[in-house]
């Protein structure tokens, strides 16, 4: 934040006017961004090469109204000369696309008109979600006022056991600190379990930092980060690491090796228990996808559990790859074949039912086990439906048995 605001150093609590490196918005927040931008009344955006637009929330559009709004956003992108525009069939979920298409580099300040923008901390960027009018002001000026946050450190020792994933770890952490445990603060993830994680797992961790209220979730860039970014965004970046004498507001020590698969019980993300303690929960739907768990490693974990097995009768298993790239890789590696053979339905890359608009919304009284990020009332459709959050492996295991199940039990059987 010091770098973005041109200061030598900044301190928590300080309000700075920061220069934005990249700004992102999508089909759902876009119309209001554009409306506010037009109300501000400047002709052109500050720098079209620093703006990314991705269509993902309702793709392909499910209503005439959505199609009209997308038309408006598409026209804006063209008129403003925004080259990084990922239309339907060209990208996927914005927070998956941003990483894989090289729009995120370590040490950058990125804002997105979407709360899950915090995902980009997986590559060592400081990235945060903002509202539509805030984004309109960024488009007009290239800068934003931000309060420098305090940081919470999560030192995750030991190694995660087989079929216990980044998702289980972040659910556990949110259960410990609560759904407002990091409000206005940054969450910094470190330790052996995080170092061992691939970029996909780190993205899951940072993605869900917002579910504890965080302004940013960050993993310090290492060799893996640099290799990932070089292959996609070139080598023009300066990784920023914690100062050696860094002061954290609080440090949490977590033992990864004792962790079992975790489940967040509705209707709050911090109501987290180990899967062995939730009792019999029968499900109507299982869902894997989204900016949280729609990446390749997530689909691979699900396929390992599902291979050679069948989705239980009476259960709908909806799987949505996070992007065209993930979709193609899953096709090449035979994962899609595993899913279809098991009786799951594979959808087009996008946010799917997570936003409660289309493609797998729930009826009154239905129960869904989901690898997404929110189990709020009405999030996936009916306010009378229930959403349990879990890892892709746990979701796949549950689709097989018809009730929420530890993936290791299915693999033993």
């Amino acid at each position: 934040m010091a770098k973005a605001s041109g200061e030598r150093e900044v301190a928590p609590g300080q309000v700075v006017n920061a220069k934005v490196d990249v700004a992102m918005f999508h089909d759902l927040t876009g119309p209001r961004v554009i409306e506010s931008f037009e109300e501000i009344g400047v002709e052109s955006v500050w720098d079209p090469s620093k703006i990314v637009v991705v269509f993902d929330h309702d793709v392909p559009p499910s209503t005439i109204k959505a199609a009209e709004l997308q038309k408006k956003v598409r026209r804006f992108a063209r008129e403003q000369g925004i080259k990084s525009f990922y239309d339907i069939g060209r990208g996927g979920v914005c927070h998956v696309v941003m990483l894989e298409k090289g729009h995120v580099k370590p040490g950058e300040l990125i804002v997105g008109a979407d709360s899950h923008t915090v995902t980009y901390g997986a590559l060592g960027a400081f990235a945060t979600g903002i509202g539509a009018t805030d984004m309109a002001a960024v488009l007009a000026t290239g800068s934003i006022w931000l309060r420098v946050p305090e940081a919470l450190k999560f030192d995750v020792r030991g190694e995660l056991r087989e079929f216990v994933s980044a998702k289980d770890l972040i659910l556990h952490i949110i259960g410990v600190i609560g759904c407002d445990g990091a409000t206005y603060k940054a969450m910094v993830f470190s330790g052996k379990a995080v170092e061992n994680m691939g970029i996909d797992g780190r993205a899951t961790m940072c993605n869900m930092s917002i579910e504890a209220g965080a302004k940013a979730g960050i993993v310090e860039p290492d060799e893996k980060t640099i290799e990932y970014v070089r292959g996609r965004a070139g080598s023009n970046f300066t990784p920023i690491k914690s100062d050696e004498n860094a002061v954290f507001h609080k440090t949490f020590e977590i033992d990864a090796s004792s962790l079992e698969p975790q489940v967040a019980i509705p209707p709050s993300v911090d109501n987290v228990k180990p899967v062995s303690e939730i009792g019999d929960v029968e499900i109507d739907q299982a869902f894997i996808g989204t900016c949280t768990n729609g990446r390749f490693d997530d689909l691979r974990a699900a396929a390992e559990v599902l291979k050679g097995k069948r989705v239980r009768d009476g259960v709908r298993f909806v799987i949505i790859p996070g992007s065209q790239e993930v979709y193609q890789k899953a096709l090449r590696e035979g994962l899609i074949d595993v899913f279809v053979a098991a009786g799951a339905i594979v959808g087009a890359p996008g946010c799917g039912p997570c936003i409660g608009i289309s493609r797998g919304v729930l009826a009154d009284g239905e129960v869904c086990v989901s690898a997404a990020n929110r189990n709020f009332i009405g999030r996936m459709g009916s306010p009378k439906a229930k959403i349990y959050l879990a890892s892709p492996a746990t979701v796949a295991a549950s689709a097989i048995t018809g009730k929420i199940t530890d993936p290791r039990e299915v693999l033993k059987a």
Partner: protein, 164 residues
């Protein structure tokens, strides 16, 4: 800035899917959005909000999505101010940006549904007329006040850019 209204009280962690469910986000007209405000937990809210409302809640109000439609829906549903023990940060910014006054205060059992409140957002004082009690609130930060006084972030930015 003195704000008057009748208290409507909710608990902790009122998320943006409760304030305005995702399926209504295609509704661009604020008045249409307002019809569905708080639908997730209180379908009777629009009825309650026929009179000027001051919404009073617990911790972490507005957690979840970045949707600006949440404060917009409340504002157009006749909510004049939101008082909560704490706010989720994106909601906090959004409310200020669209010109909906919000205040952090621990109201505890000092406010009940239907109480008549007068809020002084500048000095951070809430008067409960019905109960005859005074509650201290955290005053709005100067920048937030500046934005609200300008009428929201759009006119504030226009002024900054010398467009008015």
């Amino acid at each position: 800035m003195k704000i008057k209204g009748k208290a409507v009280v909710y608990g902790d962690n009122i998320d943006t899917d409760i304030i305005i469910p995702g399926r209504y986000l295609v509704l661009q007209d604020p008045k249409e959005l307002a019809k569905h405000a708080m639908e997730g937990i209180d379908p009777s809210f629009p009825e309650k909000a026929k009179e000027r409302v001051i919404l009073v809640a617990g911790k972490n109000f507005g957690c979840g999505s970045s949707r600006e439609e949440a404060p917009v829906a409340l504002k157009h549903a006749n909510v004049k101010c939101v008082i909560a023990e704490s706010f989720a940060r994106i909601f906090y910014r959004n409310a200020i940006n669209v010109g909906l006054p919000i205040l952090e205060a621990e109201t505890g059992n000092k406010v009940e549904e239907g109480d008549e409140l007068i809020v002084d957002a500048v000095n951070g004082v809430i008067e409960n007329y019905t109960k005859g009690v005074r509650i201290e609130a955290k005053p709005l930060p100067p920048l937030a006040l500046e934005i609200i006084n300008a009428g929201g972030l759009v006119p504030y930015t226009r002024r900054k850019l010398g467009l008015e």
